[in-house]
């Protein structure tokens, strides 16, 4: 079920009503669980067994791990969880990719491998919920978390519908506990939730889909486009993927708030970052944090020699690329980001912008901040070309086309999206200190209602059925 669908517009109020009509948290968790399975099964009920299997394995492993004292037994249990979750991911997402890559490599060496491909449909959100369940087991293994005995709460935590198919990837230490606390309806939280849903819808339906409609023909016909249009195409995709994914996160966070749950922030205005390191502290925060805690730190993190730190960051960026999709273009995208990160690491400036905010408290950013933001946006946008192109050759062809002398010509077409991009950046910049962009509670009620109504009208006006979120495919 898509957030931007009529089905969800009916599903949400029904689930909301039934949830709050239940008096006890146990029955509310049960409502969440059933609703989440309906939400997921709407797309393809066959894949419900995967999420149930993943939940069941980690629930049992978690309980057993909590009692196990011997290290070999603990290692074995962790291995079971890793094999089950990563195995599932491997079969559905990566098997065909690696088989095909191996077959091609062998073919170039003159060896014909008769490896079969599976041509399986990728279950929606598999990369998200497997990472969520994995983190639960790893945290218990590390003795950072007590296993839960409440099966309904655990299954609801894994399948929690607002964030099930595209995150934020929650940690059990943050979300699972919320299923055991008796909830009380809070007006302010619900109001904020509705505002976040509205803003997320606006970003998805009005901006992302519009930018997508402009970027798609440019990427599909890049050979015949002047360089300046190719630059526009890359910018449109950069905005599309941001508004699509952060729009989804806003809707997820807002929906969770309606039920009294707090999800973690997944995007912190990433295109206002002044260097690539800051970008990764603001973009898809839940995934970056997952890689940091479960890959980077166990490898030694930054408390090892400089060269090992460089190796560790390379591994994280490559895995991050591969997590996004089974294609070498995603690996290249990750590698390029590592190249951006490398000079900061070598110069020891990768944490330079941790404390300060872009632009500080000023409306007009300093020249240094502005330069940093512009350079970072350009570098990130260039990397998105690898992410968006179907093949590595297409990425190179696209970038080659961008560097053509026609780069300096004024694009005559495909300019219609620039106005909305400008509006988005201005609103986000003005509201950057607020907890969320549509935080306008200080304005008089009639003014707020007019703003909300205009956003609803714009969403309705731009609504197109079956416009999926990009990150569903990951």
């Amino acid at each position: 079920m898509l957030f931007n669908s009529v089905e969800f517009a009916l599903f949400l109020p029904i689930t909301f009503s039934v949830f709050w009509l239940c008096r006890h948290q146990v029955s509310r968790n049960f409502v969440v669980l059933i609703a989440s399975y309906i939400f997921y099964g709407w797309w393809d009920p066959r894949f419900l067994f995967l999420i149930i299997a993943s939940s069941a394995i980690d629930y049992c492993v978690g309980l057993t791990l909590g009692k196990a004292r011997k290290s070999w037994k603990r290692n074995l249990l962790l291995g079971v969880s890793l094999c089950a979750n990563l195995g599932m991911l491997g079969v559905f997402k990566y098997y065909d990719f690696f088989t095909e890559s191996l077959r091609q490599a062998a073919s170039q060496a003159g060896i014909e491998l008769g490896l079969p491909t599976l041509n399986l449909v990728l279950p929606v959100g598999i990369s998200f919920y497997t990472f969520q369940t994995l983190s639960y087991t790893i945290d218990i293994y590390r003795k950072q978390l007590e296993p839960t005995k409440d099966a309904v709460a655990f299954f609801a935590f894994v399948a929690f519908f607002p964030q099930l198919v595209a995150g934020p990837i929650e940690r059990a230490s943050h979300l699972l506990g919320q299923f055991t606390i008796e909830k009380k309806f809070e007006y302010e939280s619900a109001r904020e939730g509705m505002c976040r849903i509205l803003w997320g819808m606006f970003k998805k339906v009005v901006i992302a889909d519009q930018c997508g409609a402009l970027a798609n023909p440019i990427f599909a016909n890049y050979e015949s486009m002047p360089g300046s249009v190719l630059v526009l195409g890359a910018i449109y995709f950069a905005i599309q993927i941001y508004c699509d994914f952060s729009g989804y996160s806003d809707i997820a966070i807002g929906t969770a708030k309606l039920f009294g749950f707090e999800l973690m922030e997944n995007f912190k205005l990433p295109y206002f970052s002044r260097d690539p390191a800051e970008f990764w502290r603001r973009w898809h925060v839940s995934l970056s944090g997952w890689f940091r805690d479960y890959i980077y730190v166990p490898l030694g993190g930054s408390r090892v020699s400089r060269w090992v730190t460089i190796r560790n960051t390379l591994i994280v960026f490559l895995v991050s690329g591969l997590w996004h999709g089974a294609n070498w273009t995603f690996v290249c995208w990750g590698f390029l980001h590592w190249l951006y990160f490398l000079p900061l690491l070598l110069l020891g400036t990768n944490r330079r912008n941790v404390e300060s905010e872009s632009g500080g408290g000023h409306l007009i950013p300093s020249i240094r901040d502005m330069t940093g933001m512009t350079m970072t946006f350009m570098a990130i946008t260039l990397a998105w070309v690898f992410f968006r192109s179907p093949t590595f050759a297409d990425s190179i062809g696209y970038i080659g086309g961008m560097l053509d002398p026609s780069l300096f010509s004024m694009p005559k077409v495909y300019r219609s999206g620039l106005l909305w991009i400008g509006v988005l950046f201005i609103i986000e910049w003005i509201q950057k200190k607020k907890t969320f962009v549509l935080e306008i509670s200080r304005l008089p009620t009639p003014v707020r209602w007019v703003i909300y109504a205009l956003l609803v009208l714009l969403c309705l006006s731009h609504y197109r059925a079956s416009s999926e979120f990009i990150y569903f495919q990951f």
């Binding site: 009529v6 709050w20 041509n119 449909v121 309806f185 007006y187 619900a190 109001r191 509705m194 798609n216 023909p217 440019i218 599909a220 016909n221 015949s224 486009m225 219609s416 209602w449 909300y452 109504a453 205009l454 609803v456 009208l457 714009l458 309705l460 006006s461 731009h462 609504y463 197109r464 059925a465 079956s466």
Partner: protein, 315 residues
Amino acid sequence: MKRFIARVLTFLACTAVVVGMSSFIPNPMLVERNLLGALPDKIQRLTESSSPKMVLIGGSNVSFGMNSELLANHFRQPVHNTALHAGLGLKFMLETCTGKIAEGDTVVVMPEYSQFQEGYEGSRELVAALCDVYPEGRKTLDLKQSLHLFPDFCSYSATKLCQRLRLVQKTSVSRVYTRDSFNQYGDAVLHWDLPQTAFSDFPPKAPNPKLNEEAFIGLREFKEHVDSCGAKFVLLPPSLKAVSFENQKSLIDAITKRLAEQNTEFDAECKRYRMSDLLFFNTPYHLNGSGVEQRTVKVIEDLDRILTVMPETSG
């Protein structure tokens, strides 16, 4: 909780009233300039025509992809290209022609493959046409179709209001998409000599795509109606750009199989209308001048074959 629900409901009610009222905002541009404005012209021409005649039905693959003059010259009978836009939905297209078919007519249906999925009941274009161009067509709607079109109705009404408030720009209509783009047969012709523009192919379809059973039932009932009138019914595949054809292969195979199960199969192989990428204008369904000519020749060849065999088999 009560305060929250009361406020949300009040806000939604206010918005619903505003959106509902907006549907009455006139949209003269749609009637005068947009290609949907040609809908009453086409229906009137079909209503006033005499039999025997040839009637072409489909979406824009037909309006932007046929040279009816070649057909008329070859078969020596008037040809009416009733097609406009796939967004009108196959249900509306067929029901508009029902009652205008007579003995001796030949009805050639060439639906886009999407008509066998969610496209059957129409989309925003149908809403626009029924609101502002052809309100008489509302009587073809049933409850299920009305519910299906409700989101598009809200979207269309909101767009009219946003345009009036200048929140969104009125989209400038390309001259190939105007009421005047059509010749006396109903073919869109202004794009025939224009160069190809950039456009995207249809994305790959997953295996076992979901089909709309209503589309198959509607098509079968229409065929029965045509047969009962003593007219000939021909179902041909649409012409489709090669890359998009391959991407949609699973859908095309599923449709072909389902049509065969109810004895309304395509009267030609779908791959026969898988056409070279160079023959398209601005979508994987819109042919350019050369493409229109090649496709029409294929249709003539198929009709020659089908219509000579048909009396023996049906008689």
